[in-house]
Symmetry: C2
Subunit: 373 residues, 2 copies
């Protein structure tokens, strides 16, 4: 059935050279004549050589270190991303991965420093959240140039040289939000507001476009207002949305694309329009639960942070282990959370955090055992 795979020795024999030279040639280590190197590469290709990862890992014993640079966050989003990464790392068979978490407290505090320290520490790969792609872009370029692959989560850093991105699909998110809005309002006329971080964030601009396109195609009775930007500042989210709530008399619905749904909901309540609005939010965290439960928030679009973390880790690991990565750009389909299935997702989240605690306890007990020895 299956022919035995080609080994280094096979190549060496076929060429009448030594296994050491073959190895050096394949890894372009110093000390190989360009001629033999060429012959080896050629032969490796014709023989269809693929390294045996088990043997490689067994003999080299070097553990790959990756740095996970993320924001502390105001919601549980980043905790879930990190949990996904941790879980996926644990499920890798060859336990040759070490993860260092570099978590910074604010959008404009410590992001660059964390990146710099990761590079300085000589990690083998980085998973990062480029909160301000323009700022982090050059750093990512520097890392990539130094041979350190970088995977972005949640937000892309275009033209930065990053190995890949994992995020939620913007088309799927924006469109489903619009579809739901349209169906929920069922022919009613009115205006729709949307809030986002900043139109400079590619993902937000794309979601916005998708939302608008779907709304215009299928629900012409609804009119989209100019997007409200919050720049990640709660007071801006509150102030700007409240202004719209008070000025726009025929407002029928709001789609909150950012984390900052609570300030927007507060503004709606304070402006006395919460009752008559159809609200669709983004992501799922404890402060939002009562609003969903009561029906004030009709639905929330869950960006699956844990799945994003898992996927990012797999992507990086695949690249580090095999040198090839399947897909540089992964866009996940979001989940939809409403009153009825809310418990399913909450249950899942709490299960996760319980598992995390067990993991951490296990780590601690390992440590104790170690100190004791």
């Amino acid at each position: 059935m299956g022919k035995p795979p080609t080994t280094l020795r096979d190549i060496a024999n076929a060429l009448g050279t030594s296994i050491g030279s073959v190895h050096r040639a394949l890894h372009d280590n110093p000390g190989v004549s360009p001629e033999t190197k060429e012959r080896v590469l050629q032969m490796a290709r014709t023989l269809g050589y693929r390294p045996n990862l088990a043997a490689r890992y067994l003999s080299s014993k070097k553990t790959l270190r990756i740095s996970v640079n993320t924001l502390k966050g105001t919601t549980s989003f980043w905790d879930e991303v990190r949990a996904g990464i941790r879980e996926e790392a644990a499920s890798i068979l060859l336990e040759n991965m070490e993860i260092e978490f570099r978590t910074y407290p604010h959008l404009d505090e410590g992001e660059e420093e964390a990146f710099e320290s990761a590079i300085a520490d000589g990690v083998d790969g980085i998973i990062t959240f480029p909160s301000r792609p323009q700022v982090l872009g050059p750093w990512i370029g520097r890392a990539s140039h130094a041979g350190i692959p970088v995977v972005c989560v949640a937000t892309d850093a275009l033209h930065s040289g990053r190995l890949g991105v994992v995020s939620v699909d913007t088309l799927a998110s924006g469109s489903i939000a619009a579809d739901l809005m349209g169906r929920f309002l069922r022919g009613q006329e009115g205006s729709i507001a949307i809030t986002l971080f900043d139109m400079a964030i590619t993902e937000h601009a794309e979601k916005c476009a998708a939302f608008e396109k779907t709304l215009r195609s299928y629900y012409p009775n609804l009119r989209l207002l100019k997007p409200i930007e919050d720049h990640g500042v709660e007071s801006e989210a509150y102030g700007n949305s409240r202004k719209v709530f008070e000025e726009c008399s025929n407002l029928a619905g709001v789609y909150v694309m950012t984390e900052a749904s609570i300030p927007v909901l507060n503004a709606a309540r304070d402006a006395n329009v919460l009752e008559r609005l159809t609200v669709i939010t983004t992501d799922l965290f404890s402060d939002l639960v009562p609003y969903i439960r009561s029906g004030a928030v009709a639905a929330t679009i869950y960006q699956r942070p844990k799945a994003q973390g898992q996927t990012a880790f797999r992507m990086l690991h695949e690249f580090l282990a095999e040198g090839v990565n399947q897909s540089h750009q992964v866009a996940l389909a979001p989940h939809l959370v409403m009153r009825g299935n809310l418990d399913f997702f909450l249950h899942r989240q709490s299960q996760e955090s319980a598992k995390e605690q067990v993991d951490q306890q296990r780590e601690t007990s390992h440590q104790l055992a170690r100190d004791f020895a």
Copy 2:
């Protein structure tokens, strides 16, 4: 930082015995005195021994064979499940897995035979779709008893001794369908029909209960009719649903929980009620596309067959490789497909089938190369 992991030699040294005995004890191979066996097991535990899988794979070289027993299917569902399994198998680093697909054409044709032949061939594990749990249950029991782990996909076989199940979460599916139905109908009064395979299928009964619970809690204006059973037969689906369509004058919506949405849609059209019904279906396949596009189907609940396949494979592989499996029971959150995000999912499916073709071509060319050698 990290203490070096415990090896067989460490255990042997600590006990003043040989590495061979330790190995035999750990695998309860014949030829170990119960006494030393006990001591080894004890020491292994206190030292926190975990086998080095790279070394194991490198030296043993035995490839694990698993059988995938599934239905041919009337929609693309099972193709996607198989694709997921294939993809996940390919992404495993240690390429020590061989997959045999046993696909049978009908619900009551070849299911048992496929299972029997898998056992007879001595596979190391089985992934199966127990279309009739009562019938397949004993077979699963037999396999488990013989040390062959079985993972069920899509439908559970309770009390059969199966290692685990992967399916879509029934609570999440049923509830979201009810929530959407309620919101889409927005206060309108009327009856809701649902169609399913058979109340004897646990998953269907659970979905049905979840649907009913959510409907009753939040949308008391809607009344749920007695479920329509189709038993996987298209003519039954058509006939039984048409009868309801003609008899129930205040019917407002239908939730189709099975694959058989087309016959139900045909019946609605023939009974001249399609226009005024809010229809929610299950899964996504090409015949359904025009209905979604036109809005006749308001939403469809996609059970993520590919993700089910991937998860099932991982579960089996984890067990086979490490002997422990994290979670025996995985329930995935379904995806929601509507007009706006339809293209996202279609694009994904077509990408997948394109990738499949490439894979198959590659397999073919390997075969050619092999024959040529």
